[in-house]
Structures are given as C-alpha cells and as structure tokens.
C-alpha cells in the first residue's frame, strides 16, 4: 500500500496559503505534545481552527449509576484546560453564506467516514459539524478541506464566525438585490484580518436580501446587513441598512440601526472600524458580558456610532474595500438546463405534499428551489454522496445550507421536480414539511455539548416523530409554526425567535434531578427575527409533547380571525399562558413514572453532572500570545525543513519565525504594522530595541541582533550548519520575545492598578 501522506498527495491541488495554515497548525499540535505551548493558548489556537471540545472530554462520565473515569491512553496530556488529548472532539466547518458545490459535498462525505461517525450535521449558522473527531486527525482533515477550497479557520473561538446569508439570495422573488457576493466579500475580507484577532468573544455577521422575511435574521446578529437601494445623484445605488449589537445567548438583544444606508464602498471599512472598536474597548475579563451587544447597550448606539466613525477616519486605506466590487458585477449563477415548466408530467405519490412545503418558485421564470428537509440537520455520508449526484443532475453548483439545518438545491427546472423528488426518495431525503412545524431546529445539546443541560435533540426527535405522524390532520393555523429547541439557555437552537421555543434546564424533585425545558413562546422569525419570545415556565421534558398539543389546540380554538400566533400570545399574556402550563409542570414520583427521571433518547437516570466547561466562551488569550504561538510554529517548521535537508527553506522559515516574533510584540502597540518584514523590523527596532524594552538583564540586546543580522545580511547559500545556527537563534529570539511580553504586560497592569 502507498506510503504517501495527505500533505504530499494534495500539495498540487491546495492553495498555498491554506496549505501553510494547516502546516502551522500541525506544528502547534506537535509543540503542544512536547509541552511547549500553554493549555489556554493551544485551546484558543485549535478553536480558531474549528476544533472544539465535546462532552466527557474531561475524562468523566456518569453511567446512570455512578460517575466513571474514562481512561484514555494519553493519560495526562491535554488539549486545553481539563480537556484530555484523546477525548473525541467536534470539528466545525465554515461554509460562507452556505454555498456548497458537489465536489465539496463528496469530500465532506469522505471526511465523515474516515474521521467521524458517517454523519454530517448542518448547524444553525449554515456550517457543518463532524463529531467524535480525534485531534490527531484534524490536520489531515483540514488539508483535505483545503483541497476543495474550504477553510476551518475561525470557525470557533473569539473570532469572526461564519457569515450567514439567505439561502435563496439571488433567486428570491422579494429581494432587493442578491447579497451573496457581499456576504462572500465580507467573509474573506474578515478572515484572519489583523483587526479581528483580539476580540473578547465571538462575532457573528449576517446578510438579508430584504427586510420583511426571515432568512437573514439580521437583527439577532452582532452585525447585520439588509439590502437597500437608494437614489443618489440621480443614480440608483446599492447599499445596506447596517445593524449592530444583536445577539441571542442567555439574554437576547435586538440589533440597533447603525446606519440607514451604507454604500457598497463603505461596507467593508465600516465593519473593520466596528471590529477595531470592539477589540479595543470590548469587555474581555467578564466572559458573560463580552459580546458586542453589551458594548453597544452600555455605550448607547449614538456613542458607539461616534466611536466607530472616528475609528473609520484612522484606517489606513485598503484596496480590498472596493476591489471586491468587480466580483459583484461578475457574480452570476447559471442553471444546468433551460427552463421548462411542469406541465402534465406524472406526479409520484407524495410529490404534491412535498412540493407544497419544500419547493419555492424562483423569480427566474421556470426555475425553483427544492429544500431537502434533513432530520435534525443530519445526513449520512451515503446520503451526502447521493445528494451530490442529485445536485450534479439537477442543480449544478447551486447548493446552499440553511440556518434551519436543511440544504437547498437551486435552479431546478420545474419539469425536473418530480424526478428530483423520486431521486431524493431513493436516498431517504424526501421528507416534506421543510420550514413547517415538523421541521424542528435543535442544537446538539446533551448529545455532544458540554454546556447542554437537557436533550434538545432527543426532544426534537420525539416531537418530529409525533408531529409527522399527524401532520396531514394538523390545522392550517399551526402548520407553519416554528419550533426551536436549545439544550441550555445559550440559545444555540435559536429558541428566542421561534413561535414555540424551549431551552433545557433541570429541577430538583426529592433526591432526584429531573430534566425540564423552559417554554418560550411568541418569538418572531419573520421580519428578520423581529421579536423575542416570552419565557413562561419550566415543564418536565417528558411532558413537552403534551404542552405542544395544548398550546396549539388553544390557538386553533381561541384565535381571532386572521390573528397571528405572536399576537395571540401577546393577547393571552404571560399569566394566562402560565396557567395553561401548570397542569404539565407536575412531576410524578419516581415510583409512579420513572420515565420522567430520564431524558429523551437517553435511558440513564438524569444528571447534570456531565456538564463541563464550555469552549464557546473560553479564555481570552492575549493577541501577543497568539502571535508568538505562530512564531513558534514557524520555528518548528524550520526544524522540519532542516531535518529534510532543505536548507534554503529552513533558513527562510527561521528568519520568518523571528519576524513573526517581532511582529507579535509590535502589534500590541501598533496594530497596523502590516506584514512587510522591513516595516516590522524598523518598528521593532524603534519600539523595543532602542527603548531597551526587549533587553534581557544579562544578554541585553543580543537576541535582537540575531534578527537584525539575518534581516540585513541574508545568507545566499545556506547549508546545514548555518541553517541550524539560525534556527537556534530564532528560538532564542522567540524566548526573549516571550519574556519581553511578560514584562511589558506586568508593567501595564501595575500602571493600571490604582
């Protein structure tokens, strides 16, 4: 069998910058194994590559009787605080604006088989997640993604997360214009941007093509864009209403209007300015108050706007702010086939029901989108391959994930819809009901998340089964209600913006702990997540199906003519709703009904003992620490090159390691230093050498001289000895940079202490 590695095999097919990123990450893994990177720094490093922890990664699990120790082979080696190296993790894979092609789908299927459990999960932010991943497998997993132009960079951690977008942008009948190229431009502009590396928490952007419909959910995001057109100087100009400071979490905030109309030219620099302000003055110590929504609330939108606009004036010009507009003009999706309408073709059994809920007529005559309703957002690797075949046959490259955990195939000619439906049936993905009451959104919850309290997926699975069984008989008034379930109050399941939402909690009943869900009703999905629901009361998990029945029946019986569910909830009021829930809140004794004391899909006696420390609000690691970690990785790569006899490369990488180390110190004082080595060395000399800040008590400026010498007089013909020596010098330089960083940080904290 072949002895090749994925690195070698994919070298020609992988964009260089993506390949290099993964090499650096792999180097950091090796350094962590050698104990040369701090737990917190490594945790943030892997989070920024989307490598997340999972439940039980602290090595403990309650088996229903007692807590058991999980004895992993690597013993004490950890990949973060209380996170054992060998413990399975989750890999999040960003899909900017949800855009996928069949080649990527095939590759995702491969990864699910070789590194996970053959299941791909679509998240509420249009990402994919693979579970039960070993960290040792993550570099190859990332390499293979890179070969199809997918990066996992900044999928997690205190960074800019996936940029989401309406899944029907570009084909929507109501949109102002196609926001897809703008979402794409923002995603790639912010990816790895220096101004986005020092956040106190995550940052989530979203785009919507219109204000009236839900798809973009702009007002619940950190920053959101709603497409607008305005006449300026007699010409119609594209732009956006820009919102800032929204977010769900435990306490939802609606985003506030930053500007009623931001031009295409100002979109990127304004977000960059917002990022800078967030990085500079956002909360970093209190993790629970570190999202931008708290900053905007604290300052008020007027003051926040003022700070951002002041920041805007200081930004060095960046060509990329407007260079992307050429791509906007060129942005074009093409259909596989010429439009043919559906006229008299035979309809297979079940097609009519499926068409009613899952098919959307595009604004381009004769074309439609077909939503694949994924049960709990999951599909198997075989199903993914089947879907990629279907996409190739009917949709071409036009595939999107959705925040309702489904997949949309676009540009289907209407005449193909029956055949498409049959093909979906063959692979078990022809469920009707997309976007209706049976299409329930749930976060991973206690299945895999360390913060999960109650089983959101277990409940969602049970409700889906029950509601699907009676879907044909459901009254029209409730068919389109949205149910969303979160495993805890952090609202990854987006329960705040559903008609009927639930978030997991628990209650002590005698000597037992019983899983419950807080009932949250009357949220508004439409108008870009316009309002948030009311929390009414906590009900035992096993009684939730009865709550759904009672609530929906009451709505059907008592709604006024044409009354929307939100208005009905508002009219009833919290007191009345609570009274409705009361009968379901009672918990039978254990002897009467032991099933209440276990959760959906889990036969173990319920406990909250398996909860761990979440990584979504992990530690804040200083920007300098993160940058110095990159310098370490580069030095490691230099050693690898030396071992392989590549002396030119070893020399180059050792030098680059020192430049990165110098940059790590400089950016703490001067964020805009950029990447040019000459500039970095000049700034380093000015700020750290001449000032003697870098000087070691005994070695003085000696280690800095290693950088200056190599920078000024590169060796034209490196050989083993010279490359080896330079690597040694790079290591010493980086150590000195660490020591300098510690001194400078300690001095600044001393100065800050009253």
């Amino acid at each position: 069998m072949s002895t090749a590695s994925w690195k070698q095999t994919l070298a020609e097919r992988t964009p260089e910058h993506l390949a290099h990123e993964v090499d650096v990450y792999e180097g950091q893994i090796e350094l962590k194994r050698q104990g040369k990177i701090d737990d917190k720094v490594f945790a943030e490093t892997r989070l920024r590559r989307g490598a997340y922890g999972q439940r039980y990664d602290n090595g403990r699990r309650h088996d229903g009787v007692k807590e058991q120790s999980l004895d992993y082979p690597t013993g004490e080696l950890t990949k973060g605080t209380e996170t054992i190296w060998d413990a399975p993790g989750m890999q999040r894979i960003k899909i900017p604006f949800g855009g996928l092609n069949p080649e990527q789908m095939d590759l995702l299927a491969e990864l699910a088989e070789e590194y996970s459990d053959c299941v791909l999960h679509v998240t509420t932010r249009q990402d994919f997640q693979l579970h039960y991943i070993h960290i040792d497998d993550t570099p190859d997993l990332m390499r293979r993604l890179a070969s199809v132009n997918i990066t996992t960079r900044e999928a997690c951690g205190n960074s800019v997360r996936n940029v989401t977008c309406c899944p029907i942008a570009g084909v929507c009948r109501d949109e102002t214009f196609d926001v897809t190229p703008y979402a794409k431009a923002l995603a790639y502009f912010l990816l790895g941007h220096p101004d986005c590396q020092d956040f106190g928490r995550k940052f989530k952007p979203a785009f919507s093509g219109c204000a009236e419909h839900a798809c973009g959910l702009v007002t619940m995001h950190d920053v959101g864009f709603v497409a607008k057109v305005r006449e300026i100087g007699g010409k119609k100009r594209r732009g956006f209403a820009l919102y800032v400071g929204g977010g769900l979490g435990a306490v939802p905030h609606r985003a506030q209007l930053f500007d009623d109309f931001v031009t295409e030219q100002e979109m990127l620099p304004l977000v960059q300015s917002i990022a800078r302000v967030f990085a500079r003055i956002g909360e970093k110590r209190n993790r629970n108050r570190a999202r931008i929504k708290f900053l905007v609330a604290k300052l008020g939108i007027e003051e926040f706007r003022k700070l951002v606009l002041e920041e805007r004036k200081t930004l060095p010009h960046d060509e990329r702010w407007t260079a992307y507009l050429a791509d906007v003009a060129d942005h074009h999706e093409s259909a596989l086939k010429d439009a043919v309408q559906l006229n008299g073709q035979p309809r297979p059994e079940g097609f009519a029901q499926w068409e009613e809920t899952n098919v959307y007529k595009q604004r381009q005559a004769g074309y439609a989108t077909a939503t694949v309703n994924l049960p709990l957002g999951d599909l198997s690797s075989d199903q993914m391959r089947g879907l990629s075949n279907i996409a190739r046959r009917y949709a071409g490259e036009n595939v999107r994930t959705t925040v309702e955990q489904n997949i949309v195939l676009r540009w289907i000619i209407e005449a193909d819809l029956p055949a498409l439906y049959k093909d979906l049936e063959t692979i078990g993905l022809a469920d009707p009901g997309a976007g209706t009451i049976v299409d329930i959104t749930a976060c991973p919850g206690t299945d895999t998340c360390k913060l999960g309290i109650a089983s959101s997926r277990g409940l969602a699975g049970e409700l889906r089964t029950q509601l699907t069984a009676k879907s044909a008989a459901l009254p029209d008034a409730i068919k389109d209600l949205k149910i969303k379930i979160s495993g805890c109050f952090n609202s990854c399941g987006q329960h705040h913006v559903s008609d009927i939402g639930f978030y997991g909690n628990s209650r002590k009943i005698g000597n037992y702990t019983v899983p419950h869900f807080q009932v949250v009703v009357g949220g508004q999905w439409h108008e870009n997540a316009a309002t948030y629901g009311l929390a009414v009361g906590a009900v035992p998990s096993k009684a939730i199906p009865q709550v759904i029945d009672a609530l929906t029946q009451q709505f059907v019986d008592q709604r006024q003519r044409g009354e929307r569910f939100q208005d009905f909830i508002g009219r009833l009021g919290r007191k009345s709703l609570r009274a409705m829930l009361e009968p379901f809140m009672a918990v039978p004794t254990h002897e009467q009904d032991a099933s209440y004391y276990t959760d959906w899909g889990d036969p173990r006696e319920f406990t909250i003992g398996d909860m761990g420390v979440g990584e979504c609000a992990g530690e804040v690691v200083s920007l300098s620490s993160m940058e110095l970690s990159k310098a370490e990785s580069e030095a490691f790569e230099a050693q690898v090159a030396l071992d392989e006899g590549k002396y030119d490369e070893a020399d180059r990488l050792a030098y680059r390691a020192m430049v990165l180390g110098a940059r790590a110190l400089v950016i703490a004082q001067f964020l805009d230093v950029g990447d040019d080595p000459q500039r970095i060395v000049d700034e380093f000399r000015k700020r750290f050498y001449i000032t003697e800040l870098f000087f070691d008590k005994y070695a003085k400026g000696k280690f800095a001289q290693y950088l200056f010498d190599r920078h000024e007089s590169p060796n034209p013909n490196p050989e083993h000895e010279s490359a080896h020596r330079l690597i040694e010098e790079a290591q010493l330089f980086i150590e000195a940079a660490h020591a300098c960083d510690i001194r400078v940080t300690a001095a600044s904290m001393d100065n800050a202490t009253p």
Binding site: M1, G64, Q68, L70, D378, D382, G428, D602
Partner: protein
C-alpha cells in the same frame, strides 16, 4: 503500512427485526459494565435517519453500531486507532471483537425477540482512501490476505470475496460470503 480505519459489518438474518430503541439501554450498559473490547465512551442516537447509522456505541479506539445502512441491518464494528501494520492481525482482532458484540447481543435478555445474526456474510471496509483507494489495484493488493483470513474464519466452507465497485467515491469495501456455513 498502518491503515487509518477499518470496519466490519455482520448482518442480521433476513427475517430478523431489531428495535433500535431497545438497543440504546443495552449499549449504555455495555459502557457501564465494559461488556465488549475497547475503551467505550458514549451512545449516539441516529434513529431519526432513514437507513442510517442507527445506534452507535462510540469508543476511543472502536465503535460498535446497530447499523441500518443500505437497508441491511447489522452489527457494524469500526476500528479507529491502533490498527497495526499487519492486516491479517487487524482482521483477526476485528472479527473477534465483532463476534463478541454479536454474541453479547444475541444473549441479551432485554431484547425480545433476541436478534439473530447471519454467520455466512460480512462486509469489510477499509476507511483509508490515502492508502487503500477504492479501485481494482488496491483490492487486488489486499485480496490474498482477506481470502486467507476468511478461509480460516469460516473454516471448512468455501468462501468468496468480492470487491464492491458500484461507486468509486465510496471507501474500499469487500463482501465476504461463506457458502454452507452453519
């Protein structure tokens, strides 16, 4: 060369049915009581997926699943780590562990009726596209080892091994059949 991951599927009898809901507490008990080989961690519930992975007992180095893929339920054993360089050894250990799981399930008192597994068919999958791509050449490279192992495992009956070449995007899968196994 050490393969990254292999799986072995042993099928239920054609007329046997299995209640996945009943499998869940069984797998949880296996974790508690360490009933099968491997470092066992948790149980993943995929009953909502049509012809999907069913219920998976997730381990560090191995997984066991009551797998419904392809509409053919069976016990799917997956070795994820520490396979070793000798394929014959890996098959021996893998089939032994899979058979332990099968026998444990067949004797599980809480499952009524108890599941009954075939003893004349298995599917071996090499989940390593780098070292064992799904093509004729890779199949031929391992064929001899698989045939020799199968002959030993299904002692006394004639065996056949066949490459599943339906879709080269799938991992390399080999169907093993034993004619006349009792």
């Amino acid at each position: 060369m050490e393969l990254h991951r292999i799986s072995i599927k042993l099928y239920l009898e054609p007329d046997a049915s299995v209640d996945l809901a009943a499998i869940m507490p069984v797998f949880h008990a296996w974790i508690r009581d360490k009933r099968v080989p491997g470092m066992l961690i948790d149980v993943a519930d995929y009953r909502h997926m049509i012809d999907g992975p069913g219920i998976i007992l997730i381990g560090h180095d191995v997984d066991y699943a009551l797998d419904m893929t392809g509409g053919r339920p069976g016990l799917l054993y997956t070795r994820k780590r520490g396979i070793g360089v000798d394929l014959n050894d890996a098959l021996r250990a893998g089939f032994a562990a899979a058979m332990t799981a099968v026998h444990t399930l067949e004797q599980e008192k809480s499952l009524t009726p108890p599941p009954k597994f075939r003893n004349d068919q298995a599917t071996l999958t090499l989940l390593d596209r780098l070292h064992a791509p799904n093509n004729k050449a890779a199949f031929e490279r391992v064929r001899g080892v698989v045939e020799a192992f199968a002959a030993q495992f299904y002692e006394g009956v004639s065996i056949s091994v066949e490459h599943d070449a339906v879709d080269d995007r799938r991992p390399l899968s080999i169907h093993i059949a034993a004619q006349g196994a009792s």
